[in-house]
């Protein structure tokens, strides 16, 4: 009994002081929800190769950023918007030199009706005519990045004022996509990666056009080491996220590989 207790104490002490096998590390990643499919695959590969345990907490970028600001024990933050990464940089919550843009995304027009012909998205697009009074589904246009980019693109093309009244806004881009999938809104503006993820699932929406990249600010997913991170495996994993192997996985999920 006494020996067992001693053994327990020893194990507990080892856990407390971070006494672990030399190679294996435990990493905590905070990442934007839209990265789930791709990032899970990348993390699984990394775990298999290094023995590190990678736990990923997915959520809305704003919620994750606020948690990191309040001292959440994350090692790496992968954001869906530069704005929130800027906020963390200003308050010193990320390690300044480690920030990098991992990849980008495209903005696409999706339709519920699979029979709709593809369109070329430009100033001549009669989006209001296509809607005919029905709804255009987007993420929150003033606060969720996908919605902000979409609004910027429509503004740039001079289409915003004609469809503004028809826009229904959801709290995230996946919810916006599901309104199109259900047919409650005939058209929607979402990320290319989300449309692909949906395609893989049940093919309820069809991409009928891609917004030219010059119509909206560059869509990037910046990542950085969090200020308090002391896990030795964090920096190598962040580096791995921009490796060719990871790029291939992200590209397959519809993300845009930068440069």
């Amino acid at each position: 009994m006494i020996r067992a207790t001693c053994l327990c104490c020893l194990v507990l002490c080892a856990a407390c002081t971070g006494l672990r096998p030399a190679q294996a590390d435990e990493l905590t990643i905070f990442a934007a929800a839209s990265l789930k499919t791709a990032l899970d695959a990348v993390a699984a590969d990394w775990q298999a190769a290094t023995g590190d345990t990678v736990s990923i907490s997915y959520g809305g970028t704003s919620a994750l950023a606020r948690q990191i600001q309040q001292g959440a024990p994350a090692d790496i933050f992968v954001s869906s918007s530069s704005d929130w990464m800027n906020v963390l940089a200003e308050s010193g919550r990320i390690q300044a030199g480690t920030r990098r843009d991992l990849f980008g995304n495209t903005l696409v027009l999706v339709a519920h009706d699979a029979g709709l012909p593809s369109v070329k998205i430009g100033p001549d697009l009669d989006l209001a005519g296509m809607l005919a009074g029905r709804k255009l589904s987007m993420a929150l246009v003033d606060s969720v990045p996908a919605g902000q980019y979409g609004k910027a693109a429509l503004d740039h093309l001079g289409l915003w004022s004609s469809v503004k009244a028809n826009v229904v806004q959801s709290e995230n881009v996946r919810a916006a996509l599901s309104l199109v999938a259900l047919g409650e809104a005939p058209l929607g503006i979402v990320y290319g990666s989300d449309a692909i993820a949906d395609d893989a699932a049940d093919d309820a929406v069809t991409v009928i056009g891609t917004f030219p990249t010059d119509t909206h600010p560059l869509i990037t997913f910046p990542a950085a080491l969090v200020a308090d991170s002391d896990a030795p495996g964090a920096a190598p994993f962040l580096h791995h996220l921009s490796s060719d192997a990871a790029d291939a996985i992200f590209a397959a999920q519809g993300f845009l590989i930068l440069n």
Binding site: V87, L140, V168, S170
Partner: protein
């Protein structure tokens, strides 16, 4: 004062008050009926009804909103009938927000009314019957006044819940400023952008003020009524 909150903010406050008011008012007769059925009647499927009423308490609000969307949306079975037959559209309208709020608040309302019903002796209605009152009159003149405190508490609880409802509302009717952007939706939107905290907190302050006011009012009203009917 007008600068203190944006136009959108004021719209959200006004919309939330309107949505909550109608959600409460429309669900009240159903709430009383369901509470009465659960408290007084024995019928086949009573437990099923009880479970259904409480479902919104158990399910994640987003799921309730999704179920509302696939049922009452323009493509949903009920939504289509309402639209084709009566020209009523709920999805993406403030009326849909009221429906979502009503469904979410319904269990709270039913519970409060049912509790007060169970404290009223059903034999009083029999006595009213022997004095010449039909069942509906016996209910109206005897039971209804006696459960008034419960109805007030249930209504205010429902109103407060409706004021705070977010998940089901944004899933069912999205977030259209001036139409379906309720107070919680506006707060959520402000919290998504860096620097939106100030505006969000001002709306939160209004939320808290409205909720406190409603609860104090409920407490005061139910006590006043209880005193008046001599039930305490």
């Amino acid at each position: 004062m007008a600068d203190w909150l944006t136009t959108e903010g004021w719209q959200a406050v006004a919309l939330s008050l309107r949505v909550s008011f109608w959600a409460t008012l429309i669900s009240l007769p159903f709430g009383i009926l369901v509470a009465y059925a659960l408290a007084r009647w024995n019928f086949w499927g009573k437990q099923v009804l009880n479970g259904l009423v409480h479902l919104p308490l158990i399910l994640p609000p987003v799921v309730t909103g999704y179920l509302l969307l696939v049922t009452f949306g323009t493509q949903g079975p009920v939504g289509r009938i309402l639209n084709d037959g009566f020209g009523i559209v709920l999805a993406f309208r403030w009326t849909g927000a009221a429906l979502a709020a009503a469904v979410m608040a319904f269990p709270l309302m039913v519970r409060a009314i049912r509790l007060s019903l169970e404290a009223v002796d059903p034999k009083l209605e029999q006595a009213a019957g022997t004095l010449g009152a039909s069942r509906i009159w016996a209910f109206t003149t005897v039971t209804l006044p006696l459960i008034l405190p419960g109805i007030i508490v249930g209504s205010i609880l429902a109103f407060a819940k409706a004021m705070g409802e977010f998940g089901a509302t944004i899933t069912f009717v999205a977030n259209i400023p001036g139409q379906t952007q309720t107070l919680p939706s506006a707060i959520y939107a402000f919290l998504q952008v860096p620097g939106g905290d100030g505006a969000a907190f001002r709306l939160v302050a209004i939320s808290i003020a409205v909720a406190m006011l409603a609860l104090i009012l409920a407490e005061w009203a139910s006590r006043a009524v209880a005193r008046r009917i001599g039930a305490s």
